[in-house]
Symmetry: C2
Subunit: 320 residues, 2 copies
């Protein structure tokens, strides 16, 4: 699958797009929107001086500012790309500066809590259209972003009750311009789906890396040397941004605890199979899980290449 | 890191190398040994007709046979590349055909059980030198193998008490010829180290994929679509060979249960932090795990590239 952005749009979707928070996701949106001509002007804001300097050096936007209110004052669409714990404060900061009817969207990995926070903070005239692009890498910051991050990935929109239809349609068109497939669902269902496909996987990856780091019988050097046996895949996930993930777990508590409970029950059953030497039970599970993998590769959400290019650079000519 | 095999050796390490089992690992050894001239002749055996046909078509060896006794009869080194549960039967099958002093090695992911099985099955004159190359992909079979699989990976030797020193030295030289770094340790310690760096990671990956597959509230199609949020990394591991992994868990039971117990205790503590809203505790763990990741990348056991080449093919020219 070659994943490319299309040619620039003849007519931009937004006149002025304000992106609040210019890390991995915010900077990727800025790059992709520019490349696709999805917004006539792009303004970015961030509260970290070093991040702003990089955003300027990378020429990510027409205007780079540390003032979120200034950033949104001329925008017809605002996208929040900050950790979920900051939504309340950012919402209150931009509220007085929003023009009537401005679309306010976001990229947060949790949606019910986000909608509550924004509905409380924003003026009634703001048109709320929350979104969650299911894409990312374990890296952080404006240098880590790239324009094709969202190509062939799914973006989930979770319009709240009474959402403005035109706003949702425009946000949908925007994500499609960035190469994404768009699905619309309720916020509560989103939070349950993401708990199992994203939040719990991150939690158990963080957990096993912590368990390994605390062992006395096995040195850290041994854990690192022999990580190619499977462990290293977990460390990649467990290198993701700590602030973002802390906020995800604090704001999707119920769904995460529910899915974690099921995971733990299933793990206890597996532990029992090992203790009893139930080889048939283990084999049955290990065979069943291959079908899900095939589905993911078939749907283009993963490369089928073994080892994700960790495979040695050398070509492997047939041995004669 | 460009990972290349060196030039062919002037003098092979073994005269005749017999490889029993020609799947991902066995076929990769055959390819690499041929490319490096690490053995003058290579014989491979397998009990599956389709695998033998592929081994012949790929020209993996000088001799391809379905008879393990015939395969080892002229060998000065035999490497077992079969699931651990088959070691007893294969050991008994080859025992009468081994020439005096033949080195018998293997590639099993568990070492204590392997040594017991082989010491019981093999004649006293066989020189046992078990090995475990910590390398692999989630794919199986002779077509999945490649010559550079072991380059820059660690291979652990676990010589049993009273092992022949020259045999261990030759097996060490062989794995170094295939590009590996070699470490020597006791079998019990190996089994503990691999339980945390490989076996438990595989177990929890299989487990979460099973949990996701069984949900009623979230459809399988949703799990597949939104897997880019983290889940897909687990499905890769959970696509590994079911027979091999069943045997690993049955034969490294004690170490796996010990490490699984610690993982579960830590997960319970994390669950409690989420329930109580302990953001500082979550943040502290999520920050600490990044250090292990940095070690793995610094040691060349992982690429630092984000997303392992899942990143879109498009180059990301700076936006101007």
């Amino acid at each position: 699958v070659i994943e490319r952005l299309g040619a620039p749009l003849a007519e931009p979707i937004f006149d002025e797009l304000a992106i609040i928070g210019v890390g991995l996701i915010g900077s990727s949106i800025a790059r992709a929107a520019r490349r696709r001509n999805a917004a006539r002007r792009i303004v970015v804001a961030d509260h970290t001086v070093a991040t702003l300097e990089r955003a300027k050096a990378l020429a990510l936007a027409d205007v780079v500012t540390d003032d979120p209110a200034r950033a949104v004052s001329g925008a017809d669409c605002v996208i929040l790309c900050v950790p979920i714990g900051a939504y309340g404060a950012v919402g209150r900061a931009i509220a007085p500066a929003l023009r009537p009817g401005t679309i306010v969207s976001d990229v947060g990995s949790v949606k019910s809590a986000v909608i509550s926070a924004l509905e409380a903070a924003l003026p009634g005239h703001a048109r709320l259209a929350p979104a969650h692009p299911v894409a990312g890498t374990e890296q952080s910051g404006p240098d880590a972003g790239f324009a094709s991050l969202f190509v062939n990935r799914w973006c989930i929109l979770t319009p709240p009750e009474g959402a403005d239809e035109q706003a949702v349609t425009k946000v949908k068109a925007f994500w499609e311009a960035l190469g994404s497939h768009v699905e619309i669902m309720g916020a509560a269902h989103h939070d349950l789906v993401l708990a199992i496909t994203s939040h719990v996987p991150h939690l158990i990856a963080y957990n096993i890396v912590g368990t390994a780091a605390d062992l006395e019988e096995v040195t850290r050097s041994e854990v690192i040397k022999f990580s190619a046996g499977g462990f290293r895949d977990f460390t990649r996930i467990a290198a993701s941004d700590p602030t973002m993930w802390r906020d995800v777990f604090l704001h999707n508590k119920d769904a995460v605890l529910e899915m974690l409970g099921r995971f733990s029950e299933d793990l206890t059953a597996l532990q029992r199979m090992i203790r009893r030497g139930d080889g048939d039970g283990l084999f049955a599970l290990f065979t069943r899980t291959r079908a899900i993998r095939r589905g993911i590769v078939a749907e283009g959400q993963e490369t089928a290449a073994p080892d994700f290019g960790r495979r040695a650079a050398e070509t492997d000519e047939p041995v004669t």
